[in-house]
Subunit: 357 residues, 2 copies
């Protein structure tokens, strides 16, 4: 039985279904980020009410707290956070690179100091697989070597080739009940990306992710690389663009054949009061500009009793005004962040629904 | 038509109904505190789901932000926070005393500097009534002069007598659509309390509040004063114990005839991880010890997959474990505070339901 069933490919997206241990979900989809076992400000019930199909969580954070043995004893993340739907976990590769000041990469793995208490931790492909097994994610990501955004070609090549070797070790040690995705690296070098993709296809994975983009490169480079990669990836496996992006970027990536997305943007922007509003109606998008962003903390909203977005059907827009949300930010009530998180995630959910046609 | 209908007085409580512009509610009741227009971490929908009958908000905070003119333009607090039930507002007297470092009391009112930006504000009985009218609360409290917890008898007497004069000014300036409560002052001096209560009864109010307790005096003093006051208050008016208290204190005060309560304890304790658990079952109370408090952040709960309170029927206990709530505190997820706020307020709601028989 195939995990991924592609039903229809159009100029807009690849419409399909992905069958996972915790449910069948529709592509293309967006994964809200529950880094430490909760989407910030949101309970698992809130995420269900929002219509999220799948959540993303992080091996790195959960390895530090609650820890591997504790996660085993807790019976995995689904039970821990009381979420019945699918979960994807990132492998920790990116977080080791972005969050730990001191890290040393060898062929075996990465040694780093915990950003919480400075404890020395050695993370390897095998340990990442073991932790992701303890978490019990439906989809697990390979542990990869992530080159910084402005690296030399030599460093991109080294990281890409090491990631390939680690991909193999991940495949050899993965919990067979989980779906394992390989991660394509190679910076903005098309030839390196091609070698990376082909190497991963040779090993064979349940899906393929495009990593190492959305890290400061130009949008043109990201579009070019993603389009080129999608052309050589097998049609019958899901493709995942990691860490992106803005709504119009998602529209573009879906149009060239990406099926899965995750991004901190809707939730992080929400917590800072930057909110998405539809220009022409909920779920109405095009390749042109179809939304705006408003700063809800601006004085202009002080006595504005209209909802954040008059087009929006989210819980927040159905019940609360711009003036109230602005007030909550001004008086430091965390409810502000919850209400805006609901709104921005709802925007992304409606965008994805639109992309599914 | 009488506002308050007393249906049954027992050794446990005075069971009755209070008819207010935004609904009829049952006594005795507890008012969760929405200081700045939101119960911390909770939306008005959350409060409705919790079964809260009435919320308490603060004139002082809302006067500073959003402000008097803005509140008028916003159409009042019910519309602003989308809460359909009754609201009681405190007058600002206590907050002027407790939150403003520099304040000067004259016969006219209190001049203080905003704790937010240092702006000079002059709050009078008339301005307090005007602001509470803009808020549109169902029940408004008189503006009072609040003596500190360890004042001399002279200061208590002065504050009590000034509060009486201010009570009169409040009655003369109150919005007639609102129910005005007088506040009994006089520290732990029974004779001063008696004069205060009699003075207020002479003026005539829709209800009577006991102020200036729960400020550091012994529990015996608070019990003695409250019992003595309740004996001289008219039976047909609701009595409100301001700012208290622990569950067993509420049980006591209800038994001597108090009808209304508010306290930061359940919500503040929740946000600090101190949680109420029933000893013998949800809503089972007595004059003896009937509950415990647990510190959910303790290591002993690290892999405890039982709910906070096995007896409890709140949303949190129905869905999440002690281990998960503890984890959320450890990784600084604000969801922790929301889940515990739901739990502790539910405890108080069930206690009040028990007291209503």
């Amino acid at each position: 039985m195939s995990t991924f069933e592609l039903k229809n490919t159009s100029e807009i997206s690849r419409k399909g279904t992905l069958s996972l241990p915790h449910g069948e979900i529709e592509t293309p989809f967006f994964m809200p980020i529950a880094t430490k076992g909760a989407v910030k400000t949101m309970s698992s019930k809130d995420m269900k009410d929002l219509g999220a199909q799948i959540l993303l969580s992080n091996t790195y954070h959960l390895l530090l707290r609650p820890g591997l043995e504790q996660m085993k004893q807790l019976g995995g993340l689904h039970k821990f956070m009381n979420w019945q739907g699918p979960i994807l976990t990132d492998s920790g590769g990116y977080q080791v690179f972005s969050l730990s000041k001191t890290n040393k990469t060898t062929e075996d793995g990465v040694t780093f100091r915990s950003h919480i208490n400075g404890d020395k931790v050695h993370l390897t492909p095998e340990l990442s697989m073991q932790m992701q097994s303890a978490i019990g994610a439906d989809i697990v990501m390979q542990f990869d070597d992530v080159a910084a955004g402005n690296s030399t070609r030599e460093r991109y090549e080294e990281a890409m080739e090491r990631s390939l070797r680690w991909a193999k070790r991940c495949k050899e040690s993965v919990d067979p009940s989980q779906k394992l995705f390989g991660i394509i690296q190679g910076g903005t070098h098309e030839d390196l990306r091609k070698r990376s993709a082909e190497g991963l296809i040779d090993i064979g994975f349940d899906g393929y992710a495009i990593g190492g983009l959305s890290v400061g490169e130009s949008r043109e480079d990201a579009y070019r690389i993603t389009k080129a990669i999608c052309k050589i990836l097998p049609e019958d496996k899901p493709r995942y663009f990691m860490g992106g992006g803005m709504p119009e970027e998602i529209v573009y990536y879906a149009s060239v054949g990406v099926d899965m997305f995750d991004c901190v943007l809707p939730t992080r922007n929400a917590r800072h009061g930057t909110l998405f509003v539809w220009d022409e109606g909920e779920g109405v998008f095009s390749n042109e500009k179809f939304y705006s962003q408003i700063r809800i903390t601006n004085t202009e909203y002080a006595i504005d009793d209209s909802p954040i977005d008059p087009h929006c059907t989210c819980e927040t827009c159905q019940n609360y005004s711009r003036a109230y949300v602005r007030h909550l930010f001004r008086v430091n009530e965390v409810l502000a962040k919850k209400l805006t998180t609901v709104h921005n995630l709802h925007f992304y959910m409606k965008l994805m629904k639109g992309l599914r046609g």
